[in-house]
Amino acid sequence: MKASLTSFVSGIVFALGLGISGMTRPIKVIGFLDFFGAWDASLAFVMLGAIAVYAMAYRWCRTMPSPLLAPDFALPKRSDLDAKLILGSMLFGAGWGLGGFCPGPALTSVAAGALPVIIFVAAMCAGMYLHSWVSSSGATTSDWVVVAPQGTQDA
């Protein structure tokens, strides 16, 4: 249950980070992607800040036998590049550039109660269902491998 509380609080902090950084505003996102126009480099600083902190956390986690509140780390361990990765990222990038929302900011912005965001999120969920429908492999979790599989996930 502690892990559930961590997830909830982390979600709150994540949303605050998205809101403060400008990620919840399509005008900032589209401005960042507009390299050939009036480029707004702000969002590069979002990645810089997030990566600076997370890279340290990752180095630290490599020295830990297990997470503090869960039996094991669930980290992706694939390193091969395949067509799905590239094509999927292309489609995602196209949608990101078109609408100016990626999944985290879109979900956070649902709290604003604006109909366009709710429609975007509904379409995003439909896109995820569409993917699991067309792919026989049920790819929602197939790429995420539980390292050190002893014990059960907290849930």
């Binding site: 559930s4 997830s7 909830f8 609080v9 982390s10 709150i12 902090v13 994540f14 949303a15 605050l16 980070g17 809101g19 403060i20 950084s21 990620m23 919840t24 505003r25 401005g31 507009d34 702000s42 600083f45 979002v46 990645m47 997030a50 990566i51 997370y54 890279a55 630290w60 997470p67 869960a70 992706p76 694939r78 590239i86 094509l87 999927g88 990222s89 489609l91 995602f92 990038g93 196209a94 550039g97 078109l98 609408g99 929302f101 990626c102 999944p103 985290g104 979900l107 956070t108 604003a112 999120v121 379409a123 439909a126 896109g127 995820m128 569409l130 993917h131 929602t140 979790t141 059960t152």
Partner: protein
């Protein structure tokens, strides 16, 4: 360059990194939003509650932002509904096919120097830039 806001961007980024770090060090989970959402849409027994809690936290954070920083939802650009529906479908389908989005690949994966995430992040930023170029410059921002 107008509307350049490096300090709030950096501070927000630090909070995102802090949140993702807590998920890693405390729960052992990757804070990839598209993956977390997908796991709720197609639940796997025993691996769903933490996802719901995280998404509930996002919404709670959003509600908090409405009070303390309403400008966070000054969207600035809102595309017409048909475009938003197409964009949403692309984002939903694409993040599943490509196993991640800006958070899972762009923050967590790039920090781990994962080759897949580095390639994915380069790809979605490039494609996003191409689409914005087409819309803003070739179509004269006609959307």
């Amino acid at each position: 360059m107008h509307n350049f806001t490096p300090f709030s961007a950096l501070f927000g980024g630090l909070l995102i990194g802090l949140s993702a770090s807590a998920m890693l060090l405390l729960d052992g989970k990757i804070a990839g939003i598209s993956g977390i959402l997908a796991g709720v849409l197609k639940p796997v027994k025993g691996d769903t509650l933490w996802r719901i809690c995280f998404l509930a936290g996002l919404l709670a954070g959003g509600l908090l932002l409405r009070i303390v920083l309403p400008g966070a939802f000054a969207f600035g650009i809102i595309r017409p509904f048909p475009i938003l529906i197409g964009a949403g479908l692309l984002v939903g389908f694409g993040t599943r096919l490509g196993s991640g989005c800006t958070s899972g690949h762009g923050v967590c994966g790039v920090s781990r120097l994962s080759p897949r995430s580095l390639v994915a992040t380069g790809t979605f930023i490039t494609t996003g830039a191409i689409v914005v170029y087409l819309v803003n410059h070739l179509m004269g921002n006609a959307l």
